[in-house]
């Protein structure tokens, strides 16, 4: 069933349209930066963007930082919200269940397809951004920022070798993937409650917006460590020397907890619910 769902996900035009949009944003930004040569000052605009003019290989990190706050969560929430509710709305859910596909198996397959979509999105963004970065800004190290033989500069100022940088980008991708899977499972859980895919996606986004507002609110400091978006930017710490593990660990644990809770909720609801769509 997992293979069936993966194939269905890859054959859906919406998958490719959303990937195109996700990869398009960094490409457009790269084009503007390359043409004008005006980079945001350090500390302003998306993370890493100030550094990319001097080194294109850091652009994947900048691209992830651009897509992370809004674009990527929206795409993942829509995909997650579509999972069960989309089948219900299309009238295909009942036919899958009487084929028969066990409800738990269907949910597991939907989760696998969602995880694959998240991974695909993050990899696609990184890969296209790397291409765009190297094409637009070149990969030659800028002497002012990095030492000889080093490809990039970590946020803390010390140099990073290319291999080290790739490893750190990969880690950042996985971390972001885990955060996005958290969003996806919220949408997936809501998707088992409604027959309207948009409703499920909106619900998940509402949860995110609420979380992000509360994160920026000092009055809500007491709940900050438990908000799903609190450690979203933790992946930036992979680019520090030495790597700051505290936020990364907290972030992963928090996402794991949210994912587990919403998966359990999705399962408990879907396995016992009347399918009337």
């Amino acid at each position: 069933m997992i293979a069936v769902e993966l194939r269905a996900m890859l054959r859906r035009p919406r998958t490719w349209a959303s990937l195109l949009l996700l990869c398009g944003l960094p490409a457009i930004v790269a084009a503007f930066l390359a043409v004008t040569g005006i980079a945001p000052a350090p500390g302003q605009g998306p993370a890493f963007l100030s550094a990319v003019l001097s080194n294109g290989t850091l652009y994947p990190a900048a691209a992830l930082a651009m897509d992370l706050p809004l674009f990527l969560p929206v795409a993942v929430a829509v995909a997650g919200g579509e999972a069960i509710a989309g089948e219900a709305a299309a009238g295909t859910l009942r036919y899958l269940l009487v084929r028969p596909v066990g409800r738990t198996r269907l949910l597991a397959a939907k989760l696998a397809a969602l995880a694959a979509y998240v991974l695909l999105a993050v990899v696609a963004i990184t890969a296209t951004a790397y291409l765009a970065g190297v094409l637009a800004f070149g990969s030659a190290p800028a002497g002012a920022l990095s030492g000889t033989g080093l490809a990039a500069v970590s946020l803390s100022g010390t140099g990073l070798s290319t291999g080290d940088l790739l490893l750190r980008v990969a880690c950042a991708m996985l971390y972001i993937g885990a955060c996005m899977l958290g969003v996806g499972t919220v949408a997936l859980a809501l998707s088992t409650f409604t027959d309207a895919p948009l409703g499920a996606a909106l619900g998940a986004l509402a949860a995110l917006v609420t979380s992000q507002v509360l994160v920026s609110l000092d009055a809500a400091a007491a709940v900050h460590p438990y908000l799903p978006t609190r450690y979203w930017l933790g992946w930036i710490d992979f680019f520090r020397a030495p790597i700051l593990w505290h936020d990364i660990q907290r972030g992963l644990a928090l996402q794991a907890a949210y994912t587990a809770f919403f998966l359990a909720l999705a399962w408990a609801n879907f396995a016992t619910r009347d399918v009337t769509s």
Binding site: R11, G91, R94, L96, V98, P100
Partner: protein, 299 residues
């Protein structure tokens, strides 16, 4: 094949299905009739394990449902309300997706899909996405999906919805052919003629209850009246004296226990008989006599 007892489904205060004892025998062609909102679809969904009963038992092919529904469903083909199709995929791809989702491997999939399409009259279907299909083609594709893997039981909700008269005839012939080969049919419809033509057993639902369940032969019992058409209507009235229930031009409705005897008597008297036939109750009369208004017309 299907036995339920005291099957009840409540949605909050509304009782959609109320104490239903359905019996469908192996090889039956069972027609389930009833006004809109009488609980037909909810009943069918409970049989398929989509909706969970509030109380009561279901047994299908000897297995309890929904507990062992996964053992039953591989032998069931279903069309529940409208066919559910992915609009961006072709008909063939839709069926392949469904086939792959079910148990059993990749081997023979192409052949299974091809056979199902062929049987539903879509053998010549091209690679157009389903979104470009007409209503009738979608309906046929839904039927093809139900026919995948040659089920022992077919549960069909309004199978001829959206088909033209020729299509309806084709599907009816197909269903009769499948039944002759051993497939049990459970067909929900509110098209009485369709059920009357095809089915051997009838169940009628009204307001959640199964108010009638009988073999078609009993339902359509003789009414004790004989319809006679003759140009000598006046002479018949004189001859039979008081047994003519109704008289309309050449047509008469005569109370008579034995149509053959009536015919012999008329002929002996020199009455020219154009047509003579014992009148049976129509399915429509029976259904209307046991059901109330559907839910689409609030009282």
């Amino acid at each position: 094949m299907i036995t339920t007892s005291g099957l009840t489904k409540r949605y909050g205060r509304v009782t959609a299905v109320d104490g239903v004892a359905l019996r469908v025998g192996e090889g039956d062609r069972y027609g389930l009739l009833g006004p809109n909102g009488s609980g037909k679809t909810t009943l069918v969904r409970m049989l398929l394990g989509l909706v969970f009963a509030t109380s009561g038992e279901i047994e299908m092919m000897g297995e309890p449902v929904p507990r062992r529904v996964h053992r039953v469903l591989p032998d069931v083909g279903a069309l529940v309300e409208a066919p559910g199709l992915y609009p961006h995929l072709s008909g063939r791809a839709n069926l392949a997706h469904l086939d792959a989702a079910g148990p059993g491997g990749r081997r023979g999939r192409r052949a299974r899909v091809g056979t199902a399409l062929e049987r539903a009259g879509l053998g010549g279907v091209d690679a157009r996405p389903v979104r470009a299909y007409s209503l009738g083609m979608r309906q046929r594709l839904g039927l093809a999906a139900a026919l995948l893997r040659t089920p022992r039981l077919l549960v069909l909700d309004e199978p001829t919805n959206g088909l033209d008269p020729r299509g309806i005839r084709e599907i009816r012939d197909l269903l009769a052919e499948l039944n002759a080969a051993g497939t049990t049919l459970l067909i929900c419809s509110h098209l009485l003629a369709e059920i009357e033509e095809l089915c051997t057993h009838v169940g009628v639902m009204d307001a959640g209850r199964l108010v009638l369940q009988r073999p078609m032969g009993e339902v359509r019992a003789p009414t004790g009246l004989v319809a006679v058409r003759t140009p000598d209507a006046g002479r018949v009235r004189a001859l039979l004296d008081g047994r003519v229930e109704r008289h309309d031009g050449e047509r008469l409705l005569v109370r008579a226990a034995d149509a053959a005897e009536l015919n012999a008597r008329l002929v002996r008297a020199g009455v020219r008989v154009l047509e003579l036939r014992p009148e049976r109750r129509t399915l429509e009369d029976v259904v209307l006599s046991v059901t109330g208004h559907g839910s689409d017309r609030p009282a």
